[in-house]
Amino acid sequence: MKIELKVNGKDVAWDCAPHEFLTEALRRHGLLGTKRGCESGDCGACSVLLDGEEVPSCLVLAAQAAGHEVTTSEGLGDFAAPHPLQQAFVDHTAIQCGFCTPGMVIAAKALLDVEPRPSEHAVRECLAGHPCRCTGYVKPIQAVLAVAATNAGGEAR
């Protein structure tokens, strides 16, 4: 089946099997920042923004995204202009193996978009669905809080 959706700001028309999950469709189209960690919605490695809300793309059928807007880590920034969250994860040595990082960045983006100056607890809650076996979460939390600290109170970015 053919589905039309917006991915990282661009209108696309993709051929998908009716049972294909969004993770697979994205990866098949070269968007490899969306990882497979559990394929059961428990690890957040495949998180993307669907109309601005964080969803595990392994539990969303590609067909369900038709007519909607999907943002992946590739849509947030690139080498020339990384997103402030991507830059903060780099600056805070919050990346070890990096497999969970795009999912964490997506989750943090979803949080900061609605709550520009979250509390530490809110940041911890936002990352709670993103098990990371490398970092122990200390530096990822610091990275998100550092970006939040640059946000003017109440102003969404």
């Binding site: 070269g30 559990c38 428990d42 990384p82 040595t93 709670a128 098990p131 076996r133 970092t135 200390v138």
Partner: protein, 802 residues
């Protein structure tokens, strides 16, 4: 004190000699925390992992796993499966060569038993390999797997290591080909065994004023690297087999694949891309043999990626152990005798069966001075999932026993647990009493501790947690608080075994290519080795272009395990760069001589990317390279270095925790955790912190929440993240890492290891803190709320009776 121990073989000795912390202030690249060299591409989500390639015509593999804990395969019928559209190849014991090997990714010869076949006529646990289908799509492969008909003769299974040792127990490895090191006794289900006495143990116990003996139990733990085991294979344009695999050990993978696939080493190229975490689980030749076989048979690219459930059930786990610790102590608090007995469960196969358990003893027993030591160990087979290497490699198990025991001993003596440890813990200049007896499957080199800041780790950890508050914590009512601590040591590489190498060459913009066999699995070693190169060559880290772990294009390295990369490979990088630095000075001297302005070669120094003369003249590396490439005295400035160490300097640490125990629910909340670590000079301090934070949080899950459970038939019940509870960001306590500097003379720029020691601490530290909070000594992990609550109720009942 600052010399290696007398008698250590010195043929390969390498030592910075009189280094000291004073020189650290002059370092320009080491001791800083630059941006990690791979961080931005990972943050952006670039496709850099094993499974991030999709090749034309690639086949997808799915496995049929054993539904039985122990069974003989009577027949396999693949006729219906072969009819499934898109199926290209089905592998099973009937069509694959039967060559015994070990999946343990260790040096040659591996000290693990050869008890594994690519496919066998027998299955030994629920989740063992039965057959593999390669098809055009994953869905077709899965449909075909479901159509394979297997007839099994189900055999009695044994799930408990104690019962596996009993006469008449089912024999799990009855195949004639299985072999192992001395101690291996397959007829009795023993994968490895060892008995060591150091000093007159019985006499020392007889002399002791007090003897304490206690039993402890530690469980399986799953690695949970977020990236599953993944491999993609293909034949390149020269018909050579390329293996792109998530591995910690690319060179061991190539060697072992060559043997079991019966393909010459020179026909195989193993490439390690970025790795999504390993923790020991990828120190294993776990799956790449299957896509490689499919590629060799079909000539098509092949891909195998495990699911999360397969990852938990059919990859590798931490060895569960039953431990018995006995110690003899004098009334003044002086330890005189230490005895450790370990019964470990390796599951169905003996990967790392000997060496994990010798490390259980090797990291723990020598931490405290005593007159005599005894170690008794058996690792037994059971029909449960397979244990292997896991961060800490026996240490987290052993320290649960040792450091719980030290607290209990202090209590018996009426001493403060910190003071008791201070009195007995080793210090600079002490010998490692068991280094020789507990080598890697053979006698090890003797060891003396040189850099050791253990006492300062204790001081600073106590201050950070405010240990003086301990007596004032609330210990009445429903919710009670306590503090605990533990002392730890680990190792840096396997002495006399681990070897790393590096190659460096100069480019005409003054940058350098650094090629290392070392395997960055998320540890940061590519960055750390780049810093060592930058320091030695006097350039910014950005001038180093590192490429690692490709058996065609980088020199050899044993791999990312045993806390060895910084300590071993780091020195090989330094040696190679020192050679390049000499060549740069030679070339500059020749350029000046050729230009009619000769200089004193001995007075030249390198600084800021240039060779400098005392008179202020300088030649940049870029100018030197352009000249040596195109103009005069033409040659490539490059060098290589290899390193192996007979020394294994331990990092030391003191961990402290404050916990809150709810006596009504049994729930334990970690409020604060402090890890003070002496890892020598921290090459990249932020990464050392990250290793400490991550290692500790991983081990907090081991201590409190991670619980692999099995039903009576040996099936894993907790085979997903939803049931197998790791620590999350919400469970993380207030965490403080303290890096306590020391200077290790045998390490690169004073460094030793940091990556494994954090995993040793949380188990005993939290057990001790809980005992302090509620007066109940739990001797078993995981410390689930049920266990705490039951122990609390039993204590209440006992107090009511008395």
């Amino acid at each position: 004190m600052n010399k290696p121990i007398a008698g250590a073989p010195d043929g390969e000795a390498w030592d910075t000699g009189a280094g000291s912390l004073g020189e650290v202030d002059r370092y320009t690249a080491v001791g800083k925390s630059p941006e990690r060299v791979d961080a931005m591409k990972l943050a952006l989500g670039k496709g850099t992992y094993a499974d991030d390639v999709a090749l034309e015509g690639m086949l997808h593999l799915k496995l049929l796993w054993s539904p039985h804990a122990h069974a003989r395969i009577v027949s396999i019928d693949t006729r219906e499966a072969e009819k499934e559209p898109g199926v290209r190849c089905i592998l099973h014991h009937g069509n694959v060569a039967r060559i015994p090997y070990t999946t343990a990714g260790q040096g040659h010869p591996e000290p693990s038993p050869y008890d594994t076949f690519i496919f066998d006529r027998k299955v030994r646990f629920v989740g063992d390999r039965v057959a593999c289908v390669a098809a055009d799509s994953p869905e077709a492969a899965a449909r075909a797997v479901a159509k394979i008909k297997v007839a099994y003769e189900v055999l009695p299974a044994v799930l408990d290591p104690r019962q596996a040792l009993l006469p008449g127990a089912p024999v799990i490895h009855d195949e004639p080909e299985a072999t192992g090191l001395p101690g291996f006794d397959k007829a009795r289900n023993i994968a490895a065994a060892m008995e060591v006495d150091h000093g007159d143990v019985d006499a020392a116990f007889a002399r002791a004023d007090l003897v304490l003996e206690r039993a402890y139990s530690v469980p399986y733990q799953a690695h949970c690297a977020l990236e599953p085991h993944s491999a993609v294979t293909w034949l390149d344009e020269d018909d050579r087999l390329v293996v792109r695999v998530a591995t910690q050990v690319p060179f061991h993978s190539r060697r072992i694949l060559a043997r079991i696939l019966e393909v010459p080493v020179q026909r195989i190229r193993v490439v390690k891309p970025r790795i999504g975490g390993g923790f020991g689980g990828k120190q294993e030749i776990l799956l790449e043999d299957l896509p490689a076989l499919v590629t060799l048979r079909t000539r098509r690219p092949a891909r195998l990626v495990l699911t999360r459930a397969e990852e938990i059930v059919s990859s590798r786990l931490r060895h569960p152990q039953l431990l018995r610790w006995k110690s003899g102590v004098m009334k003044d608090g002086r330890l005189v005798a230490q005895e450790l007995e370990v019964l470990a469960n390796t599951g169905a196969y003996g990967a790392h069966a000997l060496t994990v358990q010798t490390c259980t003893a090797g990291k723990t027993l020598p931490l405290y001075r005593a007159e005599a030591y005894r170690f008794l160990m058996k690792t037994v087979y059971t029909n449960l999932p397979v244990a292997g290497a896991f961060r800490g490699y026996g240490g987290p198990q052993g320290f649960v026993a040792l450091e719980s025991h030290m607290d209990e001993l202090a209590g018996m003596l009426g001493m403060d647990p910190v003071e008791f440890r201070r009195r007995n813990v080793v210090g600079p200049g002490d010998e490692n009493a068991l280094a020789q007896a507990l080598g890697e499957g053979k006698e090890g080199p003797p060891q003396r501790f040189r850099s050791c800041a253990m006492q300062e780790c204790i001081d600073r950890g106590m201050a950070a947690i405010d240990w003086a508050r301990r007596p004032t914590l609330p210990r009445t009512g429903t919710v009670r608080r306590g503090m605990g601590m533990s002392c730890l040591m680990h190792g840096s590489g396997i002495p006399g075994v681990d070897m790393g190498s590096a190659r460096v060459k100069l480019n005409e913009d003054g940058s350098f290519n650094l090629h290392v066999g070392a395997t960055d699995i998320g540890t940061g070693s590519d960055t750390i080795l780049s810093q060592i190169a930058a320091e030695t060559l006097a350039v910014p880290v950005g001038k180093i272009v590192i490429y690692s772990s490709d058996t065609d294009h980088t020199p050899f390295d044993t791999g990312a395990y045993a806390s060895s990369t910084t300590y071993i490979t780091g020195v090989s990088v330094k040696k190679a760069c020192e050679g390049v630095r000499r060549q740069l000075e030679d070339a500059a001297a020749e350029m000046w001589r050729h230009g009619g302005d000769p200089c004193d070669r001995a007075a030249l120094v390198v600084k800021d990317g240039a060779v400098c003369r005392p008179d202020g003249q300088r030649l940049s590396y870029a100018d030197i390279c352009l000249s040596t490439f195109y103009t005069h005295d033409q040659h490539q400035i490059m060098d290589h270095g290899s390193h192996m160490s007979f020394e294994c300097p331990p990092p030391f640490a003191a961990h402290f925790a404050e916990v809150e125990v709810d006596t009504e629910t049994g729930g334990v909340k970690v409020l604060k955790y402090v890890a003070a670590t002496d890892c020598g000079v921290a090459i990249h301090p932020k990464s050392c912190e990250g290793q400490t934070e991550g290692g500790c949080v991983q081990a907090m899950g081991y201590a409190l929440s991670e619980d692999l459970t099995f039903d009576a038939a040996g099936r894993t019940l907790t085979d997903g993240f939803r049931h197998y509870k790791q620590f999350s960001s919400l469970d993380l306590p207030e965490f403080q890492t303290i890096l306590v500097p020391s200077f290790e003379p045998s390490g690169p720029y004073g460094a030793k290891s940091v990556s494994e020691i954090p995993a040793d601490g949380p188990g005993p530290t939290l057990l001790n803190a809980i005992a302090d909070a509620i007066g109940i000594r739990i001797r078993e992990l995981p410390i689930t709320p049920e266990k705490v609550r039951r122990a609390w109720l039993a204590k209440q009942a006992e107090e009511a009776r008395s």
